[in-house]
């Protein structure tokens, strides 16, 4: 209808005119033109609306996302605010360890490690010289070697820098030296809990003790791990035991204090010990935890279990008498007493005078089969169970097999020879004897969960045992363990050390096994002194009654008030004491 013609004079100008033969008035042309524009606009409208809708939808979604809590991720500048999650409740990655009263005994402190990027270092000689002044213990040569490591962008210089050292390194202004955030495990009481807690390596991974066994728990939960140990009691036991070890020039000593009604270990000390905050004395005796690793022939303390066996079997009564007039021969082996009474002895007197002959006579009535079963039931034939340390730190007892458990084995075991167990075995079984006959697996972790326990002897036997052991302290070899008011009941044990082809005469391992107060035992204490020497004060005697028993007495006198036990004094004795003080 319309044709476009270009002007010849000016090619850029053109003229719009109707085609030939078509007559159009100006108005008609205009009307047709407008109708066409409206149609085009109408056709385009939906696209425009759709476009706007899309934009609004996008905005709505965006606004919705922004308004949602946490629904938007905003990247912050990484220089000062890192995007890592900050747990304000757990400042350290390895949880604290606290004692039964919530007092901190092990924690981790934030420190920094210093490392170098050898690729970035410009003047390693100068840097090594400067660093050697700050860390003379590493030495220039070592530092230079670390700074010039080839094809390496990370070279550790030193772990756990103090803030002062960090400031000194910062002041050097060497860009290749960088810091790495780290943690250092710190044991607040140095040696005090060394064997219980164990220690960690430079990467904060537990290597022994609770640190190793409870490693997962310590790293997965920020909640402090509560032990059954009491810091004050542990300190007292450690102090008294250290004094005893020094006084009797012993090569080692150990003590365990246990709550007889729960199996909770209140204190566990092994000497010599070590300071886990400094270098660990790998391969030395100090690392050896005697209470759980040291198997030894317990000697006469085992007569306690022998007596309980007799009473429990029903074949022996407390009033029964046994012939101890002369040594007894079993399978051609003569068994005699250390201080022979050479008379008939009651069950109580066998314990008071620690008679080997009497013990053998007593067990002979019961028989070896029942003896084995009884000892097995008390846990003497397997590694100690329940205690929260790894199996490698718990020794397996040594004893004769069932086939080789002959009459002579039965006889020697009755007075604590021919079987080797750990102090932890002895005190756990003894707790059962004292608490009414329930065997509780020992534990180091304070927990409300019910623990495994089983009845191993009757309540009656337990009640009968208490006064018998009380008499040992009142009239027998344990006199020096007596603490007025606390009714100590116990049994001494002096075991000659087994050497090649027999026993060493002057090398003994002494034990004193006790419970207090005897009328209602709450705690059991085992003190072991390894190879004590005779001194002037003991008239050169090396038996348990002269060293282990008085040490136990001192420990009980000091810890009983700490444990909240009220002394059971006679009122007259108390008044006499008050008067004396006034």
């Amino acid at each position: 209808m319309l044709s476009v013609s270009l002007s010849k004079k000016n090619p850029r100008s053109y003229e719009l005119k109707p085609e030939e033969g078509v007559r159009l008035t100006e108005g008609l042309f205009e009307e047709n033109y407008n109708t066409s524009a409206v149609q085009t606009t109408k056709a385009r409208m939906p696209f425009a609306v759709a476009g706007f809708l899309a934009i609004y939808l996008l905005i709505a979604v965006r606004v919705f996302m922004v308004c949602l809590p946490g629904g938007i991720k905003i990247s912050l500048p990484t220089d000062d605010f890192s995007e890592r999650e900050i747990d304000v409740n757990a400042p350290i990655s390895r949880a604290d360890i606290v004692d039964r009263n919530g007092l901190m005994i092990a924690t981790s402190l934030p420190t920094v490690n210093l490392y170098a990027n050898p690729k970035k270092i410009q003047n390693p000689k100068d840097a090594a010289e400067k660093l050697a002044k700050i860390f003379p213990e590493i030495g220039y040569d070592n530092l230079y070697a670390k700074l010039t490591k080839e094809r390496c962008s990370f070279s550790m210089i030193k772990h756990d820098l103090s803030p002062a050292k960090q400031a000194q390194v910062n002041a050097l202004g060497i860009p290749a030296l960088e810091f790495q955030e780290s943690e250092k495990r710190v044991y607040l009481h140095n040696n005090l809990f060394a064997h219980v807690l164990g220690y960690t390596n430079v990467d904060n991974v537990g290597q022994a003790g609770i640190e190793k066994f409870m490693g997962d728990r310590l790293t997965k939960s920020a909640e402090p791990l509560k032990l059954t140990l009491d810091m004050g009691v542990q300190d007292t036991v450690h102090e008294e035991l250290s004094k005893a070890m020094e006084k009797f020039q012993a090569v080692g000593a150990a003590a365990i204090l246990m709550d007889v009604n729960t199996g909770e270990v209140i204190s566990m000390v092994s000497l010599p010990d070590f300071n886990p905050n400094v270098e660990i004395p790998v391969g030395q005796k100090a690392l050896f935890n005697f209470p759980t690793l040291g198997t030894y022939e317990p000697g006469s303390v085992f007569k306690t279990f022998n007596t309980a066996l007799g009473l429990e079997s029903g074949k022996v009564k407390v009033s029964d008498k046994f012939d101890a007039t002369k040594p007894i021969v079993v399978q051609k082996r003569k068994i005699s007493d250390f201080h022979g009474e050479n008379r008939w002895l009651t069950v109580g007197e066998i314990l008071i005078h620690s008679s080997n002959i009497g013990s053998v006579q007593l067990v002979s009535r019961v028989g070896r089969e029942d003896q084995r079963k009884f000892l097995e039931n008390l846990g003497f034939f397997e590694r100690i169970k329940g205690l929260e340390i790894s199996d490698s730190e718990k020794a397996r007892p040594q004893f004769q097999s069932k086939k080789n458990w002959t009459d002579i084995t039965m006889a020697t075991v009755s007075y604590g020879h021919g079987i080797s167990v750990t102090p932890m075995h002895v005190i756990t079984a003894f707790s059962a004897l004292m608490n009414g006959g329930i065997y509780h697996e020992p534990t180091l972790i304070k927990s409300d969960e019910r623990r495994l326990s089983r009845r191993v002897l009757s309540e009656r036997t337990s009640e009968q045992m208490r006064p018998l052991l009380r008499d040992v302290v009142l009239y027998g070899s344990g006199k020096k363990a007596e603490v007025p008011g606390y009714e100590v009941a116990g049994k001494t044990g002096t075991a000659e050390k087994a050497v090649k082809g027999g026993y060493a005469k002057k090398r003994v391992t002494n034990s004193f096994l006790s419970a207090f107060p005897a009328s209602n035992p709450k705690y059991a204490l085992l003190v072991v002194i390894d190879e004590p020497k005779g001194i002037k004060e003991t008239w050169n005697f090396i038996t348990s009654g002269w060293n282990a028993a008085p040490t136990a007495g001192k420990i009980i006198a000091a810890v009983a008030p700490q444990l909240g036990l009220k002394a059971n004094f006679d009122i007259e004795t108390q008044r006499a004491h008050v008067k004396a003080v006034q």
């Binding site: 706007f52 934009i55 609004y56 905005i59 965006r62 606004v63 922004v66 308004c67 938007i72 905003i74 912050l76 605010f81 900050i86 747990d87 304000v88 409740n89 400042p91 350290i92 007092l103 901190m104 005994i105 924690t107 402190l109 934030p110 710190v186 607040l188 009481h189 005090l192 810091m231 004050g232 300190d235 007292t236 603490v483 007025p484 008011g485 606390y486 009980i556 006198a557 000091a558 009983a560 008030p561 700490q562 009220k566 002394a567 004094f569 009122i571 007259e572 108390q574 008044r575 006499a576 004491h577 008050v578 008067k579």
Partner: protein, 118 residues
Amino acid sequence: MVSTKTALSALWLTLTCFVIFGCFILKNQVHDLERELSRINQNIAQDVKNIHVLKAEWGRLNTPERLRKLAMEHGSLNKIRAEQIINYSALPFENESSSIAVAKNGSKEYKKLVKQER
């Protein structure tokens, strides 16, 4: 007709601009708040760390060994002995001066009075 459409388009455009601007402001504010939160959390974490170090320090200062040494040096305090813990009834009261306290310890009269008190 044209002017109405233009006005409507302008209105839509303005509204869109407002929403975009509002959205930007909101985002900015959220951004600032996130920064603030991060900063506060960082400070709290640092404070908790410092408190933790102080707790460790406090634990170290309270080691029984140190306390014992200080008690001996400054307070002449010794460990409590078992016999120091007695029953309340064992304490001599003022009104007892004429009876038990006066009675000779271990005498018949003393024992009688003690028995009566029980």
